[in-house]
């Protein structure tokens, strides 16, 4: 098994090496078979969009990637490193908490409900992990955090508490917080679903900029427009399986499967 560091960071242009590999992934909640054999690859620098009706397993799939859910069968690799387990002579060993935390540091996650730390200001939210996980000096972390907040258009809100920010602003702070750890992969779990319609645009703009900068992203969303404009791949899931996937423009304009046609007719 190769180590986490690779030489792929040397080239800024998207390469075709797979950053995320999901093989035969299954997930049960009790008797409920949520994911029924998912195979998926996300290349470095790609934006993979996941769509599907609620309960189709797309959020669960996303949460499996950074171990907020344990998987029941299959394998997930991020950067060629097996997620959550160590393979010792064909036998899987659960990773200890330290290694799980290390793997998660490489992966940024943005939640539907923002989940900003309510007792900390926007700036404190952004510097929390760099200072207390990576051990960066506070002053360095602060300077970088202000740059990130500026990047999401919220530098002037650095000293506001989450409760003083609108949903759209909170979500942009949450994106800045995830970026502060300099992840190589960003996961978005319905980032605009909890927002008032007029606030969705600002969050999508930030995500588009991020995609343009070459960030590898897996995005669960209902924003078909975003998928068409920014997505490199579109995967339609239903009932815990991948029904159809391909180039977003093709899938949206010319869906092949009955279920995809049905779903798209409802959301478009």
């Amino acid at each position: 098994m190769s180590s986490a560091t690779t030489d792929t960071n040397l080239s800024p242009t998207p390469t075709t090496s797979p950053l995320v590999r999901i093989e035969g992934l299954h997930k049960y909640y009790g008797h409920h078979h949520v994911l029924q054999g998912i195979d998926m690859t996300v290349n470095e620098g790609e934006v993979a969009v996941l769509i599907g009706p609620s309960g189709s397993g797309k959020s669960t799939l996303l949460r499996c990637i950074n171990q907020l859910e344990t998987i029941s069968a299959g394998r997930i690799y991020v950067d060629d490193e097996l997620v959550g387990y160590k393979d010792k002579a064909g036998r899987l060993h659960e990773l200890n908490v330290k290694d799980i935390a290390r793997q998660r540091r490489n992966i940024g996650m943005v939640f539907q409900r923002f989940n900003l730390f309510g007792h900390k200001t926007a700036l404190e939210n952004v510097i929390e992990a760099p200072v207390h996980v990576k051990g960066q000096p506070r002053i360095t972390a602060k300077r970088k955090a202000l740059e990130l907040l500026d990047r999401v258009g919220l530098a002037s809100r650095a000293d506001y508490y989450p409760a003083q920010l609108s949903g759209g602003q909170q979500q942009r702070v949450a994106i800045a917080r995830a970026l502060a750890m300099e992840p190589e992969l960003m996961l978005f779990d319905e980032p605009t679903s909890a927002l008032d319609p007029e606030l969705v645009g600002d969050v999508l703009t930030v995500m588009k900029d991020l995609a343009k900068s070459g960030m590898t992203m897996v995005v669960v969303t209902h924003e078909i427009g975003f998928a068409r404009e920014v997505g490199d791949t579109l995967t339609f899931m239903d009932g815990g399986v991948v029904v159809e996937s391909g180039d977003p423009r093709d899938v949206i304009a010319n869906p092949q499967q009955e279920r995809t046609i049905n779903f798209l007719s409802k959301v478009l």
Binding site: R105, L149, Q164
Partner: protein, 323 residues
């Protein structure tokens, strides 16, 4: 923000609507109730002032008596130490209750069940009798050699027995308060912190507990005030220097129980008031980010730094107005 209703004669010359100037509903019942209460207060005040049985001169004589002041000191010390012990144990118990380790969960459950289920008076007597049960405490390797030992009575003095008794009993109640507080924090906070690669201990200490404190502090303040008065039971140990014991013995000596009861009540009230002030500030600290959020207090220095960063960039996303 657009003004929709109150169009006063603004500088730009817009018309103002006539504001409603209605006659408020009258509440005669309130006046009758207030009158009765004022009368009652006056009667009580007059009785307090004129009834010789209160012996106000004696109250004045003993209020700042050195023995009473010492009693106040011991009572405060008992309260502070046993609460500190209880808070420390309660945090541990609450974390244990949430642990993945079933032995930890059961131990925590059993602890709460036992210490909450027996009277504090009984527990205090028991701690006073530990020296009878175990005259000598030895530290050593189990089933192996003894490293050192001491006489229980020398270590577990009446004072420490009282602190232990009060603190362990209180820890059971506080553990439940802390557990409720930890549960009150949204699950998303834990997930967000985990996703950032934080470890469980750090998440608990830096993310969950500070937010739980908002829920924990008010009932804990209640418990602290309760503890202040529960210290009057340490006679059971027996510890005999606290405020209640001192004023009771002074009362027995002078044959004047009422003025000395007033002395001790006045001191308990005074300390309670101080504790309430302290609680107010603690609540304010932990309400950070949620309570009293009126207009955002922007730190001018940070704003300046932010502007400096912004000035160097051009394409900023416009911020939503209205918040």
């Amino acid at each position: 923000m657009k003004t929709q209703t109150a169009e006063t004669t603004a500088p730009d010359g817009t018309k103002a609507p006539a504001l409603i100037d209605a006659i408020p509903v009258r509440h005669p019942g309130r006046w009758v109730g207030a009158g009765i209460l004022v009368l009652l207060v006056a009667l009580i005040g007059q009785n307090l002032a004129t009834n010789p049985q209160f012996h106000w001169d004696t109250v004045g004589l003993y209020l700042l008596d050195i023995n009473v002041i010492r009693g106040v000191g011991w009572t405060l010390l008992l309260t502070v130490l046993s609460m500190a012990l209880a808070v420390g144990l309660a945090i541990l118990l609450a974390f244990m209750r949430q642990s993945d380790n079933p032995i930890f969960r059961w131990t925590s459950w059993f602890w709460v069940w036992f210490f909450r289920g027996t009277p504090v008076y009984t527990q205090l007597i028991f701690w006073g009798l530990v020296a009878v049960l175990y005259p000598k405490i030895a530290v050593g390797v189990p089933f192996g050699p003894e490293l050192f030992s001491f006489t229980t009575q020398d270590v577990l003095t009446a004072f420490w027995a009282a602190v232990l008794g009060l603190g362990l009993n209180e820890s059971a109640y506080l553990a439940e308060i802390f557990r409720a507080g930890l549960k009150s924090v949204d699950k998303g906070q834990m997930e967000a912190a985990e996703a950032l690669g934080m470890r469980k201990g750090k998440i608990m200490w830096r993310i969950i507990l500070p937010q739980a404190m908002r829920v924990i502090v008010p009932p804990t303040g209640n418990e602290t005030i309760g503890m202040l008065k529960t210290t009057s039971l340490v006679l059971a140990v027996p510890f005999t220097l606290d405020l209640t014991f001192v004023t009771n013995s002074l009362a027995n000596r002078t044959y004047l129980p009422i003025p000395l009861l007033i002395v001790s009540a006045a001191w308990y009230l005074f300390i309670t008031s101080l504790l309430m002030v302290g609680q107010h500030f603690i609540e304010k600290h932990y309400g950070k980010g949620i309570d009293n959020l009126a207009p955002a207090a922007v730190n001018p220095a940070a704003l300046k730094a932010a502007k400096a960063v912004t000035a160097t960039k051009t394409n900023e996303i416009p911020e939503e107005s209205g918040r």
